[in-house]
């Protein structure tokens, strides 16, 4: 019983990261139908930005860790969204203007991810970085179940971000514009909606929360390396699709679902078989629901 509860907490924490990154995927996809494969690496850049900010604030200015954290959250999000917007501006937008097939934009995104990864490796060298501790880790114990304060923060952050994004997308004007663009890119500009502004806003949101995920990730798993975003990026993409890509709820549920599947498979089956079982389960889910959990099949009129 304790093991079960412990594993549910583990899955909630791990799923939170998938959910946070998957939300970024799904936002951009929802608007542009673009799989932004660089998103995992934007997450990595976010973690590094957080690292340098924190080192600077702790070391050079000598701030208190608590204040540092409070400052690092908004700063990381702003700087990381800058990275995302830059990518959109210099790599994706020209292609979009030229009317390139969407898969070429996807490949460009993949290449941008590689540039970020390897550029980081070339600039900073192969040494991994340790993220300094900003929060005194407190382990709360209930019988055999342990929870740290950090885990609770991570889970809460994921849930808050979800509600925030759900609110932005469904209740605000710009959110409506975002949904509109995904339905018809040609009609929306005719309605007087500045498409490029909306797209930039989408990238700001997606990359900003990737930055937040990077910061939280670096606090929970304090070993930073240039390739840290690659695998988790792919898996978050999978989570977003299983949830039904383009839907905020889908990304959120898909992220937690993937977290639960991975942790659950390890807990029940021999852990050596994890990928085999976890991906078989995902395959079966997509077999049963070919457009993901929340994805609506867009019916083609004949």
């Amino acid at each position: 019983m304790e093991v079960l509860i412990q594993n549910i907490i583990n899955a909630l924490q791990w799923g939170s990261f998938y959910a946070l990154i998957a939300l970024g995927y799904t936002l951009v996809y929802g608007v542009l139908l673009l799989i932004n494969f660089a998103h995992g690496d934007i997450f990595m850049v976010g973690a590094y930005i957080a690292f340098f900010l924190v080192i600077f604030m702790l070391g050079n200015i000598g701030l208190d860790p608590g204040i540092t954290l409070a400052l690092a959250v908004p700063l990381t999000m702003i700087l990381t969204s800058g990275v995302g917007v830059t990518l959109e501006r210099i790599a994706y937008r020209p292609l979009r203007r030229k009317g390139a097939h969407r898969l070429y934009v996807v490949i460009t995104a993949l290449m941008c991810g590689l540039i970020l990864e390897n550029g980081n490796l070339a600039l900073l060298g192969a040494s991994r970085k340790r993220f300094p501790e900003l929060l005194e880790t407190t382990v709360y114990r209930f019988g055999d179940v342990s929870v740290t304060n950090l885990k609770i923060i991570v889970i809460l952050a994921a849930i808050l971000v979800f509600f925030f994004l759900q609110f932005v997308v469904t209740r605000t004007k710009i959110g409506m514009a975002m949904r509109g663009i995904s339905y018809d890119k040609f009609a929306i500009p005719l309605m007087g909606i500045p498409v490029d502004t909306v797209i930039v806003f989408t990238f700001i949101l997606g990359s900003g929360f990737a930055g937040l995920a990077g910061l939280l990730f670096a606090m929970s798993y304090p070993v930073l390396e240039p390739y840290m975003g690659a695998l988790i990026g792919w898996k978050a993409f999978i989570a977003a699709v299983v949830g039904g890509i383009g839907d905020i709820r889908g990304a959120f549920v898909g992220g937690f679902l993937l977290g639960f599947i991975e942790i659950g498979v390890v807990a029940i089956f021999p852990s050596t078989m994890r990928d085999l079982f976890a991906f078989s389960i995902l395959l079966l889910i997509l077999w049963a629901k070919p457009t993901g959990l929340f994805g609506l099949a867009r019916h083609q009129k004949i």
């Binding site: 304790e2 093991v3 412990q6 594993n7 583990n10 899955a11 924490q13 791990w14 390897n118 490796l121 060298g125 192969a126 040494s127 991994r128 340790r130 501790e133 880790t137 382990v139 114990r141 055999d144 342990s146 740290t148 885990k151 990730f217 798993y221 304090p222 070993v223 390396e225 240039p226 390739y227 840290m228 690659a230 695998l231 988790i232 991975e262 942790i263 659950g264 390890v266 807990a267 852990s271 050596t272 994890r274 990928d275």
Partner: protein
């Protein structure tokens, strides 16, 4: 018709030209001895490649500042060629072929991980070029390959060292293992450990045997299972970057007991990444950096001064592997003029080395080209230094 034939001829000519351009033309200097390094500067483990390269560069400066290597009374300059194998098997084969055929090296150091060392070893053996892998622990790397050697000890030796030490020091009856399923080093060692432990403590005494993937960052599910099985200690034959996360997460999940590690822990970065969590743990390795004496101490200090961190085991093993080659060259009566003869001479000389005093201990090669050397168990002190705890010799 004529025009068509002309064009075909032209196309063929262009192809041939391109082929020749690829071949390039290395300048042949009689007084230079070239040694190739087949190392992963990019890909999964760039840090390993970097350490190897740093150690090699330090050695190269040493030798060439003294005028080079002396063979048969004549001095030859050394040249090291570093090629990136991207941590891929096919790339390692290409690099080996490039070093052998294009650059004309007399010996190859690397690749480091078995995934590349096994195929590259095959290539080196076929093309009769001596190769020393500093770090590979897969028996297949050197098996039935007279031209291939290695500098690290094998899993069947290291496993029992860990088993005996843990049984004695921790007084443990039961053990748990967490390892990297995609990393053959980690998996091989984990399996040998389980085999040895159960031989010693009876079947079922390894209470949990859990795995994860190479790029994983969350180990909480595996650790929950392990802690639920309440073993006396956890054996972690993993790379140091994963160790840092595993140990921290285990502590977050309430684990208080000891950890036992393997030689892949032996990196200066371990303490930087792991911090307080790793203090007091033990691992088996090639050498203890803290309290080292003689050459080892000099090596560590100089490396530290030059690159700003204590050398890890890859650096030390690369240093030893390169020095093994140099010792083999220096032991020759004279330097043959033919390249194939040079390579053969080095291979024979390597096999005949009686005793080599390296920074990772004294060693010599057995029939397979595997080293016979001692292992040490170190304890991570409260200052974060790797202190000598025990030495085990075969």
């Amino acid at each position: 018709m004529k025009r068509f034939l002309k064009r075909t001829a032209l196309a063929a000519a262009v192809m041939v030209l391109a082929a020749f351009m690829l071949t390039g033309c290395g300048s042949e200097d009689e007084n230079v001895i070239k040694i190739g390094f087949n190392i992963p500067l990019t890909g999964d483990i760039p840090k390993v490649g970097e350490s190897s390269k740093f150690a090699a560069e330090m050695l190269l400066e040493d030798i060439n500042s003294q005028g080079g290597v002396t063979v048969g009374g004549k001095q030859y300059k050394l040249q090291f060629l570093y090629e990136d194998n991207e941590s891929k098997a096919e790339s390692a084969v290409n690099v080996a072929l490039k070093l052998i055929d294009q650059d004309g090296v007399v010996a190859i150091i690397g690749p480091n991980s078995s995934k590349q060392a096994v195929p590259a070893g095959g290539t080196a053996n076929e093309n009769e070029t001596p190769m020393i892998s500093p770090w590979s622990t897969n028996p297949d790397t050197t098996k039935d390959r007279p031209w291939v050697f290695r500098a690290a000890f094998l899993d069947p030796f290291q496993g029992p060292v860990a088993v005996n030490f843990a049984a004695k020091t921790f007084g443990a009856q039961t053990a748990a293992v967490i390892f990297d399923i995609s990393n053959d080093y980690s998996k091989g060692l984990a399996e040998i450990f389980r085999q040895e432990w159960e031989k010693k403590m009876g079947p079922g005494s390894v209470v949990a045997f859990e795995s994860h993937g190479t790029k994983d960052q969350d180990f909480s599910a595996q650790l929950t299972t392990i802690i639920g099985a309440s073993p006396d200690f956890i054996f972690v034959p993993n790379n140091y970057n994963q160790v840092a996360l595993i140990v921290k997460q285990a502590h977050d999940l309430g684990w208080q007991g000891p950890f036992m590690g393997s030689d892949a822990w032996g990196s200066a970065e371990l303490m930087q990444l792991c911090g307080d969590d790793c203090k007091g743990q033990h691992f088996s390795t090639h050498y203890a950096a803290a309290g080292a004496k003689g050459d080892t101490k000099v090596f560590i200090e100089r490396y530290n001064e030059k690159y700003g961190y204590t050398p890890d085991d890859v650096a030390a093993l690369t240093w030893d592997a390169a020095r093994l080659v140099l010792q083999a060259i220096e032991s020759l009566d004279q330097w043959p003029s033919e390249r194939s003869a040079q390579r053969a001479a080095i291979k024979d000389a390597l096999g005949q080395i009686d005793e080599f005093a390296g920074v990772t201990g004294t060693m010599k090669f057995d029939d397979q080209g595997d080293p016979i050397k001692c292992a040490v168990v170190v304890r991570i002190s409260d200052q974060g230094a790797f202190e000598f705890a025990e030495s085990v010799c075969p």
